[in-house]
């Protein structure tokens, strides 16, 4: 065996535990879901299920009706609004954390990371009861103290969408702030010094130095966050749709829509087919977002 082959073999051997882990927790569930989607597995055929071909996919397409298209458009709007706000707010906060001679920098960083340390479920319900509740919520207590009528924050579609966005930002900002803060610190200070000597304003320094230099570093985090936001379920479901505590708002993302129209049926074959279709949509979405602009490709 020549040395190159031997090295390759060792490289695979060393990576084997990680590869096996990825196989077990990422690849296997996808393949298994794909297999189940071709069967009639449901409560009536729990042990004696059999392969029924693409029947579930045929039925699943009925879920992708007008309601699904509306949910899909809401999901895109939800993703765009959240991503734009996240990037802007995180950039501003991270820039403020990098102000020279800022006192108590670590205290602010700890406070900003705090929402990330709390379980999402707890945070969401805290917001729901602690802030938005019309009887006991802080927002209505403030309104009452200035003589205003209480507001049902999660009752209408637009208001509920805004409230969900606020909670999602609260949950997601720590990650983005951390990444942008790290990226900002990696920029060589001499660039700014030269720019200052040339008389560049803050806006010019941000536009021509900061943004181009952090773009490559934060790009993977942005892609990850786009996906997390796109397939967001907890925030919208727990704030507005949870069984037993619905609020009257009718906002659905594709995940909450699929949950209410398929997953509650206990038909695992059918639900798996819908999961696979959403998975394919996400893969296509990923391919589109990963496409490099032509000029950038040419440069590479």
């Amino acid at each position: 065996m020549n040395r190159k082959k031997k090295n390759t073999l060792f490289a695979y051997a060393w990576s084997a535990p990680s590869l096996l882990l990825i196989l077990l927790i990422v690849i296997f569930p996808i393949l298994y879901t794909g297999y189940i989607s071709l069967t009639n597995m449901n409560v009536y055929h729990w042990n004696d299920y059999e392969i029924i071909g693409l029947e579930n996919y045929k039925d699943a397409l009925f879920v992708f009706d007008n309601g699904f298209i509306k949910a899909f458009l809401v999901t895109i709007l939800w993703t765009i609004v959240n991503m734009v706000l996240q990037l802007i707010i995180a950039f501003i906060l991270a820039s403020m954390l990098n102000i020279r001679k800022l006192k108590l920098r670590n205290v602010y960083k700890t406070l900003l990371i705090f929402p990330w340390a709390m379980p999402g479920y707890v945070s969401i319900l805290l917001w729901k009861t602690g802030m938005f509740n019309s009887q006991f919520g802080l927002l209505n207590q403030w309104l009452a103290s200035v003589g205003e009528e209480p507001v049902r924050w999660l009752n209408s579609d637009v208001m509920a969408f805004i409230c969900c966005t606020v909670v999602n930002l609260w949950l997601a900002l720590p990650f983005m702030i951390t990444i942008i803060d790290g990226a900002l610190q990696s920029i060589d200070k001499s660039y700014y010094e030269s720019a200052l000597l040339d008389g560049a304003t803050w806006m010019e320094r941000t536009r021509y130095i900061t943004i181009p230099m952090i773009r490559a570093i934060i790009a993977p985090s942005v892609v990850i966050t786009v996906f997390t936001t796109f397939k967001q379920f907890d925030v919208i479901y727990l704030l507005t749709q949870q069984v037993g505590s619905k609020t009257g708002a009718d906002i659905h993302t594709i995940m909450t829509y699929a949950y209410e129209n398929a997953f509650i049926t206990n038909n695992y074959g059918y639900s798996s087919a819908i999961s696979m279709i959403i998975f394919i949509i996400l893969i296509l979405f990923s391919m589109v977002t990963n496409m490099k602009p032509k000029e950038e490709e040419g440069r590479a």
Partner: protein
């Protein structure tokens, strides 16, 4: 040497990872020392399990009982119910999932272990709740119904409404200044079902047919709307119960599990029969949930003797009495109601009275989708102000579509 070490470490790591994929063996019929372990999954509070553990100690050391609390019991059973190595031998849970597990073929009829005639000692409604496709799958232990409760600080015993119109008049008079005359989880199907059943309507009948667009269901939801208008916008458990326990709501319809909490807070809470609906002359008829023991097929086949002994201990009327004293549970065993300890318990006797008009929660698999669809229907009507008949027709269509999708 370095390479050999690293290869050895890789092998250890792989072995370590893979051994996590194994499972502990809780199956098998008997241990080598002749003892049998019976594992019971449950989702109950400690006080209830302490009573059962104490009573089942008589079976030791031959039979060792292990209670395991599972917060996600229903989903966990779906995953491992047919795997004897991971599944429990029995589970202690409400009757409403019986249909799902019976269809999955993981449950054994209780009559395979206890002769049917011995179950005559239980209230008919509890046995009806435990029956799915003519087979009894549960040994009932206790049952729960919603109760009409009031805070004596605000509502005198003489003011307790006997009819829904009296209740409405009380609400109109007392809902002001941050106080509510009456609150309930008005848009949650489990709670709204009392009004629907009281009108003769239904969410789902025993044949698995949804009744959301039934004329009586529509009439009930339409009538209920005027009460909802005098209640807070939020319908969830935390808000409604906090309003009552904090003294901001004078009365409520809630589960018996709330009574110990409000009593501990010093509230003089009264329990009264459900108000009679003026339109129909029948009381509000909430769903009844029966909590009991279900036996998994593998245990019934391989540990039959031990399972039978466990069930026989739990059939003793004293168990019902102790559960009532420990946690206010209403025993399913009729014999308990002959005993003074039970007769003198105001809450248990109120539940017994309500149970006479209560409707057992449907235990068929189709009910799983109805909680969501009926919840959406009630939310549309009560919180989004949509037309009742139109919403009912849409919800009915949705329910039928989802039920079809279950197959």
């Amino acid at each position: 040497m370095k390479k050999i070490c690293s290869l050895l470490m890789i092998c250890c790591l792989l072995a370590g990872m893979l051994c996590g994929c194994g499972s502990t063996d809780s199956g098998g019929s008997q241990a080598e020392d002749g003892t049998t372990t019976i594992t019971i999954w449950h989702d109950k509070e400690d006080a209830i399990i302490a009573v059962l553990e104490e009573r089942l100690k008589v079976l030791a050391p031959e039979i060792n009982i292990v209670f395991e609390k599972k917060s996600d019991l229903t989903e966990a059973l779906k995953m491992v119910g047919n795997d004897p190595k991971a599944a429990p031998d029995m589970y202690f849970f409400a009757h409403d999932k019986i249909g799902v597990y019976a269809e999955m073929d993981i449950l054994a009829p209780i009559t395979d272990i206890i002769p049917k005639e011995e179950l005559d000692q239980y209230m008919d409604s509890t046995i009806a709740a435990a029956t799915y496709k003519d087979e009894i799958y549960q040994l009932p232990i206790y049952y729960e119904t919603l109760l009409f409760m009031y805070n004596r600080l605000y509502m005198d015993d003489s003011e307790v409404p006997e009819t829904t119109e009296e209740l409405y008049a009380y609400m109109e008079e007392n809902t002001k200044g941050g106080h509510y005359g009456f609150v309930e989880q008005h848009s949650t199907p489990y709670y709204a079902a009392g009004w629907i059943n009281g009108f003769g309507g239904y969410i789902l009948n025993e044949d698995g047919v949804p009744g959301l667009d039934d004329a009586k269901t529509i009439a009930a939801v339409e009538y209920h709307k005027k009460f909802v208008a005098l209640m807070p916008g939020e319908t969830e458990y935390a808000t409604v119960n906090t309003l009552f326990s904090e003294g901001m709501a004078h009365s409520t319809i809630a589960g018996p599990w709330m009574i110990p909490t409000v009593r501990a807070q010093g509230m003089d809470v009264g329990v009264a029969p459900m108000p009679v609906i003026d339109e129909t002359g029948t009381p509000i008829a909430p769903y009844m949930g029966v909590q009991g023991i279900q036996v998994l097929k593998f245990a019934a086949e391989n540990k039959k003797d031990a399972v039978e002994q466990v069930l026989r201990v739990l059939m003793e009327p004293e168990v019902g009495v102790e559960l009532a004293q420990a946690s206010g549970c209403a025993p399913a065993n009729e014999a308990c109601y002959e005993l003074d300890e039970i007769k003198s318990d105001e809450v248990v006797m109120a539940m017994k009275e309500t149970a006479e008009s209560a409707v057992p929660m449907p235990n068929i698999p189709e009910m799983d989708v109805m909680w969501t669809v009926a919840g959406n229907f009630l939310t549309d009507v009560n919180m989004s102000g949509k037309d009742v008949a139109e919403s009912a027709a849409d919800a009915q269509k949705e329910a039928e579509k989802l039920i079809e999708s279950m197959q």
